[in-house]
């Protein structure tokens, strides 16, 4: 036993020495892992997002020489949207770089669920921008989760508000039939709770219809829709499922302008394969849409003119590419915020977590970053890890996405009690301590 202890001690001293040596050796670098997918059924949507993320980190390194002089070290790992491979990627990357991973973007609701369990142990925050579990916006229970910019409950609420506005008020929804065609995974099931709640409040009938992974077989679902004749169809798909749904809707003659996708079902790869069939299709927007803004000029100047970009120039400015940029920018700004407290050096996940929780982006700051027109100001707090709940609706006109609505805010009178109840249930089930947010600075 003593021998074993001695060996263990020796090994740990050696390991500590090694870690120290490599930390001293490494330059001033902040490591960020990228869980992405460029292969598999979800690659058409995964690739532009991954390109956007990679380009923004490269831009920060090229243009500013890193974050206040701390270079970003970015490494991708292909998860193929599979939860077990995603967890393997996370475990592989979490300790790289001088201080380990700053944060992790799982880019899959399933992987987010798995990493939610690991984050408090590894002390690495999970940024699930526009996805993940909806109740995780409650920072008092989900200390390490940040579903920035909006959860699925927000998305579903924004779509319902838009439909209600078209119909002339929520009271006009009484007796209407609304169907949700969803990817049969945690991702697709997330909005059901909110839609059921809304159905109860306003007296419309709500029918969820699952589509199994990867979603290329939907004939039966759409046959049912043709028989039921719902007033609206909401679409919660990803990858090939989206374009298949739109094609099937065209095939059964369901009016596309009565179809509303979530913000993950509203990008170019979703509508282009359906060609003319997608015209009129709506989707929610995770604030930003397609198009080129201030930041894109910098991308051209510092990356694409030098041949360093990861996409083709005419793909820069597509919806998911822009989402990759936004995702990377929020991470970089969180690190910048954390540096104001912990110093301009590589930071640990725990320090970056403070940065995300205190992230505040004003309209002026967004303009400086070149993101005005894409995002609205946001402020993350201990109680609210979402930061903002704004969104718009866009429509595909056959060639490009057109914004067709004003800004909506998801209704916190409906969402807040649901979030509180779900977060409390989670905390009780797992016997977790709950932070008192009023005591946080």
């Amino acid at each position: 036993m003593t021998l074993r202890k001695a060996v263990l001690l020796g090994a740990s001293i050696a390991a500590a020495g090694l870690a120290f040596a490599s930390a001293a050796q490494a330059q001033n670098e902040q490591f960020i892992p990228g869980l992405i997918y460029r292969t598999g059924a979800y690659a058409p949507n995964g690739i532009p997002f991954a390109n956007g993320v990679a380009d923004y980190y490269a831009l920060v390194n090229e243009r500013d020489g890193g974050i206040n002089g701390v270079k970003i070290l970015y490494e991708e790992c292909d998860t193929g949207y599979a939860t077990d491979r995603g967890v393997e990627c996370y475990e592989r990357l979490k300790n790289k770089g001088p201080t380990g991973a700053a944060y992790v973007n799982p880019l899959s609701t399933g992987i987010t669920f798995a990493l939610t369990e690991k984050a408090p142990i590894d002390k690495i925050p999970v940024i699930s921008m526009g996805y993940g579990r909806s109740e995780s916006r409650d920072g008092s229970v989900f200390q390490w989760n940040f579903p920035l910019l909006g959860t699925y409950w927000s998305a579903a609420d924004i779509i319902m508000q838009h439909i209600a506005l078209k119909e002339g008020g929520f009271d006009k929804l009484k007796g209407k039939k609304i169907v949700l065609v969803y990817h049969d995974s945690p991702y697709g099931k997330e909005p059901i709770a909110l839609l059921e709640q809304r159905a109860k409040m306003h007296g419309f009938t709500f029918t969820p219809m699952p589509v199994t992974h990867p979603g290329v077989e939907q004939k039966a679902t759409w046959l049912q829709i043709r028989q039921n004749r719902p007033d609206y169809v909401l679409l919660w798909g990803w990858g090939v499922m989206n374009s298949t749904s739109i094609k099937e809707a065209a095939a059964v003659g369901f009016p596309r302008d009565k179809m509303f996708g979530v913000w993950w079902s509203g990008a170019e790869p979703d509508v282009r394969p359906a060609e003319g069939g997608a015209k009129g299709y709506h989707s929610a927007m995770l604030q930003h849409g397609a198009g080129q803004f201030g930041v894109h000029a910098d991308l051209k100047k510092f990356l694409y003119d030098k041949g360093k970009g990861s996409a083709k120039w005419d793909e820069v400015g597509e919806v998911l590419y822009n989402r990759g940029l936004v995702n990377a920018m929020l991470g970089v700004e969180s690190i910048r915020k954390a540096q104001t407290k912990f110093g301009k050096k590589p930071l640990t996940g725990e320090q970056v977590r403070w940065g995300i929780e205190n992230l505040e982006l004003s309209a002026a700051r967004l303009k400086e970053l070149g993101f005005d027109g894409m995002l609205q100001p946001l402020k993350v707090t201990c109680q609210d890890h979402e930061g903002t709940r704004a969104g718009r609706v866009q429509q595909w006109d056959g060639a490009k996405w057109v914004v067709v609505s004003d800004w909506y805010q998801s209704d916190d009178k409906v969402l807040k009690p649901m979030v509180d109840a779900a977060a409390k249930k989670y905390a009780d089930e797992k016997k977790l301590p709950v932070r008192d947010c009023s005591k946080e600075s």
Binding site: R4, V7, L8, A11, I36, R38, T39, A43, I47, A50, E76, C77, D78, G80, T83, D84, V87, E88, E91, R92, N95, T109, G110, F113, A114, T116, E117, K118, I121, R133, S134, D184, S185, P186, Y187, K189, E190, I192, A193, P210, H213, A422, Y426, E429, K430, K431, L432
Partner: protein
């Protein structure tokens, strides 16, 4: 020279009937077990535990379970993922609803027993249908169980997304939180399970399975009851698979959705059994190692040699090389990796002076 049994005389039946009649085999297996329990915890990093050893061990156990059914009893099954899900969700519900029994051993055994019950239920058709037709019937069980856990909300405790999570795991007061603890617990269970499986397949129960496998009519004529024999095989097999499913959910994933046990899982484990070797316990381990570790290895290999390539190319290469390797192994040795292992042992016997 090293591996020779000359001079090892067996003077009793007990000595002749032990699991490893050759001294070198006994020492080797003992050394492996001791190394796994003592040496590995000194060197392994969390990554090695959580991504290499834990998945390998758990899926080995599932492969042993399936091997009992397919390899020893000859009943093809495509419902492995579903039976793993039964184990996982039964364990979850016991853990959640009866906090007094928050002991992983009890929880896992319950998962196994429930899986065995479901396995018997879905094994009943095997009395009438055989071969490929049985495979299709078990495929139905896979889809039914997938559907059950996705739709019956009570089983997932009414979580909005259908994803459930566990935490605060303990065994007789021992908190299994760190990867090392989890590894030791899984290793212990797998060692016990393998010992049980080995003794089952070399005893009269295993022999009755093999009789049914080799020719069911002949087996019936010499006195084995097909009903009992086939259903015990289904029960034992599903029990192992159920415990493996519960371990996969509790100790590997921590949070999971029915998708973790979909049809791909069934195929994955069936491939382990086929590539490892039908009707061989060592084959179950070799097959699991091949299927679990090879993709991860292929994905990281270029990086270790300093070759930089795009993530997409790396993933595509992984698929291609892995597929080619499966084809290669099945051509070179259709009886699986276990057969290669046996051939290696034969050769070692004659080494260094082959005829």
């Amino acid at each position: 020279m090293l591996y020779r049994e000359a001079g090892q005389f067996k003077t009793t039946y007990v000595a002749d009937q032990q699991i490893f009649p050759i001294l070198q085999d006994r020492l080797f297996v003992l050394a492996v077990i001791v190394a796994a329990f003592l040496a590995v915890p000194m060197f392994a990093s969390p990554y090695i535990y959580t991504e290499i050893l834990i998945p390998f061990l758990i899926l080995s156990m599932a492969a042993i379970g399936l091997n009992i059914l397919v390899g020893y009893c000859g009943q093809v099954s495509l419902g492995t993922g579903g039976f793993m899900a039964v184990g996982a969700y039964a364990a979850y519900n016991l853990w959640l609803r009866v906090p007094e029994l928050n002991n992983l051993i009890v929880v896992f055994l319950f998962g196994g027993v429930m899986a065995a019950a479901v396995g018997i239920l879905f094994g009943i058709p095997s009395l009438r249908i055989k071969g490929f037709y049985l495979a299709v019937a078990t495929l139905a069980s896979q889809f039914f169980l997938d559907w059950l856990f996705a739709r019956v909300k009570w089983l997932t405790n009414y979580t909005p997304s259908g994803s459930v999570a566990v935490g605060k795991l303990e065994v007789f007061g021992w908190h299994v939180d760190t990867p090392a603890d989890r590894y030791l617990l899984i290793l212990g269970l797998v060692v016990v399970a393998t010992l049980v499986a080995k003794n089952l397949v070399r005893g009269h129960i295993g022999r009755s399975w093999m009789a049914i496998r080799d020719m069911d009519i002949a087996a019936e004529i010499i006195g084995f009851r097909p009903l009992r024999t086939k259903l015990t095989a289904f029960a034992v097999s599903s029990f192992f698979i159920g415990v493996a499913g519960a371990m996969w959910a509790f100790l590997r994933l921590g949070a999971w959705e029915p998708l973790a046990f979909d049809i791909n899982r069934s195929f994955q484990i069936l491939f382990m059994v086929i590539i490892g070797g039908l009707g061989s316990l060592i084959g179950s381990f070799l097959g699991a190692a091949f299927i679990v570790l090879m993709p991860i290895l292929l994905n990281q290999l270029p990086g270790w040699f300093g070759v930089r390539m795009s993530t997409a190319l790396l993933s595509h290469l992984e698929f291609m090389v892995f597929g080619a390797m499966i084809v290669f192994f099945l051509i070179v040795e259709p009886h699986g990796l276990a057969r290669l292992w046996a051939v290696a042992k034969e050769k070692l016997r004659l080494w260094p002076f082959p005829h």
